[in-house]
Symmetry: C2
Subunit: 229 residues, 2 copies
DNA sequence: AACTGTGAAGTTTTTCACAGCC
DNA sequence: GGCTGTGAAAAACTTCACAGTT
């Protein structure tokens, strides 16, 4: 897709392209920005105004070099000899992550997980507003949790379309997740956070992240009782 | 620590060591085994008995080479020309991950997240038995959720010690998490799954994993509205 | 003196590609 | 022909180390 001709790349082409389009920052780096952001916000709450890559790294348990390299993908935010103005860096990170706006989110599934999500204040605090909750179960439809009414799954697609919602969290049983993901995408959802323990099959332009506590427990059981390091 | 002398490594030493102790499989590989296990179990449920690294990779959205390389750290489980006997591979993965036993787990925090955990059947299905729930709130102590009574946080350490529990899930507010982690470690907990959005400071021999939906949403908002690929 | 931003070096992880076996 | 297991190659990621700035 990047090629203009049918021939393979040559150095001149690569150079030409590299002038036109900067390489994208690695996804793994983007995945660390939220943790930087949160640690910096915690520092502000502790009345710290300035920090260094060393201090931040210590707090997060990672190297200062990694923090500097990560940030360097997006700009020059620090001052030599001084460090980073936290307020400014927070602002910049919020721009990079597009958090300088409120994002509307819908929750699919009104079971215990869905309920835990709508009651968790962290989403609102971080700029994610849960605006709807959907379930198939007629018993649950009409219930209200933390002020959010459970609506019928049948109404999901038109409501998401009408309100232009882009983010959804799936908390349904695994066997319903794939079909629901397809409806969501059809409705215009682009980012899905799935609590269902199975890989969703989605087009390349849809982003999916998984929350999977069981896999994480199983990862840790590997190390239990193993004294061989 | 690996060195026997004060001098730096030399090739002979490295070779000597490599005979004595096989290199540990990378942690990133161990982290993928639970997902292989789950996909294989799903295949069994679909009455599939045999698979190949290609079929499994397709299902998981990863390359066949990665699956073969990952598994090769632990043994030779496949047959050339045929593939893998799923039942056998599942059994082997369960041995590797030490899932051929039931693990007792405690939940700290009896709020919405803690409740969602005790009501989620997936833990029991995967061999994790939630045996206790603890909270500071006197209003919550004594409540019962899915048959599990909320106990006083003060009783936590002795109970964990008495029962020899090794795994805990923290669902308390962030500001309590560090202190609780320290108590847990004191009580003998070795593996912690934390839902608190802050890095826990723990000794090297303690394993911690984090569940952090907000970071994952923030990771995805980076890509929203960006058509520059 | 303290700290950033960054090429270069080093390490880890993934992919390639193929000999060997069923 | 189909598939595994694996060295070798490639790519990705992290750390080093230092010039340059405050």
């Amino acid at each position: 897709m990047l090629q203009c001709t049918g021939r393979p790349f040559n150095l001149l082409q690569v150079h030409y392209i590299s002038i036109l389009m900067k390489p994208q920052p690695p996804d793994i780096v983007i995945g660390r920005l939220p943790m930087y952001l949160r640690a910096l916000e915690a520092m502000l709450a502790d009345d710290i105004d300035i920090t260094s890559s060393y201090a931040l790294g210590k707090r997060l348990g990672i190297s200062s070099a990694q923090i500097r390299k990560d940030l360097s993908h997006f700009g020059d935010f620090g001052k030599q000899g001084t460090g980073y103005d936290i307020r400014y860096l927070v602002e910049q990170l919020r721009i990079i992550l597009q958090l300088n706006q409120e994002w509307e989110v819908v929750v699919i599934g009104a079971g215990h997980v869905g309920q835990a999500l709508v009651y968790y204040p962290g989403f609102a605090d971080s700029g994610f507003k849960i605006v709807g909750m959907f379930d198939v179960d007629p018993e649950k439809i009409g219930e209200e949790h933390n002020g959010i009414k459970v609506q019928a799954l049948n109404d999901m697609v038109p409501i998401i379309k009408r309100d232009g919602i882009r983010i959804a969290m799936i908390t349904t049983p695994a066997d319903a997740a794939q079909e629901i993901a397809e409806s969501l995408i059809d409705a215009g959802i682009i980012s899905i956070l799935s609590y269902a323990p199975l890989p969703l099959n989605v087009p390349d332009d849809i982003h999916v992240q998984y929350v999977d506590p069981i896999s994480k427990l199983q990862h840790m059981t590997y190390y239990l009782n193993r004294e061989d390091d």
